[in-house]
Symmetry: none
Subunit: 196 residues, 4 copies
């Protein structure tokens, strides 16, 4: 009970911090701003986090997990067929305000990671885990004849990741109303994966 409260309060702080990071940038996240946005006093923050860096890392984690769990959910809730990729990839792109926020935080995280070995390692770990799941899925599709077999599942996976990352990046620069169109253009590519 105590524990749950404590954890949910931590998550709330992380979520609010993530929002502020997305909207105003990491450099404008101050303890005062955060406390104000939380509607609490500065002192409260130190009950849940040892220092500001921990808050930032928690915000990073929070956004990161939201993106990933969203995609995993999309994967889990469908049979393995090429058509299922459409919603999966859409979940991976910043087409809604929620995912816009999360991607902005994630790119802040990536940029931060350039100078933080630990963060970089943690990210690579996560990434590898995620990729292997994806690779297995594609392998299944290849076995079922839904995806061409002349290209390595690992390569397809890698492509998909880099492409989605790059596309997410481009889309964050676009106004919201153009993003859906941009996403659909990308989905047209899926046909290239079909066996000829």
């Amino acid at each position: 009970m105590r524990k749950v409260d404590h954890d949910s309060r931590r998550e709330e702080v992380a979520a609010v911090a993530a929002k502020l990071i997305a909207e105003q940038g990491l450099e404008n996240l101050t303890t005062r701003n955060l406390a104000k946005a939380m509607g609490c006093s500065i002192g409260v923050l130190s009950h849940y986090f040892a220092n500001k860096q921990e808050i930032v890392l928690a915000a990073f984690d929070w956004a990161d997990e939201r993106i990933d769990s969203r995609i995993q959910e999309a994967i889990r809730s469908r049979d393995a067929s090429l058509e299922t990729f459409v919603p999966i990839i859409l979940e991976g792109l910043p087409v809604t305000p929620e995912s816009d926020l999360e991607w902005k935080v994630r790119f802040n995280l990536y940029t931060y990671a350039f100078t933080e070995q630990r963060l970089r390692d943690a990210q690579r770990q996560k990434l590898l885990q995620f990729r292997s799941m994806m690779e297995a899925l594609i392998g299944t599709l290849q076995k079922n004849g839904e995806v061409r077999r002349d290209t390595d599942a690992a390569l397809i996976t890698r492509l998909a990741f880099d492409l989605v990352t790059g596309a997410a990046h481009s889309m964050l620069m676009l106004p919201f109303e153009k993003r859906q169109e941009s996403a659909e253009q990308l989905l047209g590519l899926l046909d290239q994966l079909r066996p000829s």
Copy 2:
């Protein structure tokens, strides 16, 4: 003048600032650090830039132009054939220490742009310009029968950009020794562009 040309001194400041941003992150770029790295006093900086923000923007510009001019140079120095894409794309990826630095700065710039409308607009402008050049090149290749015509040149361009961006991003997380391999994997894709 006492020492050197005004513009080249400005560029020197921008370059050193870019180096510090890449190595230690934007948040650790202080006027003190910068002056120290330049081997000059803090006051010098204010001779060449009105304030820190201008220095940061100049550093962003500096890195940005280096990447672009590197790619453009690669394009200009070759005939238009599919094979020429290999070195062009390689120039676009962070496989050398120089381009590693430049890409890191560029991603800092992108992140910074999330909260700076002006910067975002300027980036989009540049990007569009660059893309149209790329698109023309691909169009030429299609006319020469070196690139399949069943896919729109604009789409190929967009894909290439997002893929290179995403790949550059992934590679920055890798240690240097693995990057060449990663780049080559990507280049294997070029075959997919050949007319079947």
Copy 3:
């Protein structure tokens, strides 16, 4: 709260700032000096004032109000007769260390106002209000036959103000021991106001 009331702390800062301005001049009022004189850390100042300019304005206000309330008190506590002017005017001149300080700050304020429209407007507003009060008083004295009626009450008021201002100014240049004499010389003038 940890120590004291917010408003009284603000006033304390203003008062100490006024003291420093009077003693060392506005140009030597630094946040460091002020914090030192307050016996607190620099950071405290920013709890009570958004920036230094606000502190300066508060110090100006503080001194200004002290002079005015001192005179008004002198007026209020007496019947309206020509003799009462003596203590009233004396309260308006820098004959005590307190009023010396306040007048020095007030002249700093005036000088500052030369380049600050807002301050100038605010001062004029206050002045007009004060004058009309004075004018009413003189009007009453004229009605009672204590002050000659061949001169306009408004003109007398204006003269009194300019004369007191000028005299205050001159007296600030004098050592303390000569000020009382100087003030008395001025008071001799009051006889000129009697109806002949």
Copy 4:
């Protein structure tokens, strides 16, 4: 010749500095601003003045002398009669743009003098000299029967000074178009000096 050049250049600097002080306040007088307003380089200033403080003092002197010499000129160019006071006093008030500037600088000087013993002494010296000249003039008028003899010449002088100082002060807060009227109101007082 050299000497003349040197001196006239010094005066030019002082005059430009005075202008800047009047327009933007002493705190905004920087060597850069001054050099810019002079249309020369910063280094030039150090040829004519040892440091900034000397420039400020020279600017103070410049304005001070202009006011005084203007009044003395008005005195010298007329016979000693009560009517001559009108133009004399008018020269002493800030009714023209030139005298506005000079009075603003003079009040900056006075304020500065609060914390500078030397300046204060120099001012008192000048003032006494000026007063004695004025007193002699009034004495002459009294002998000629143009000014009432029941008031001490020294007191009249002192009053005139304080009143003009205070009036000058008030007028600096007024917009230009109202100053003439304000000055005339003051001149009405001269009649009070006539022997009844």
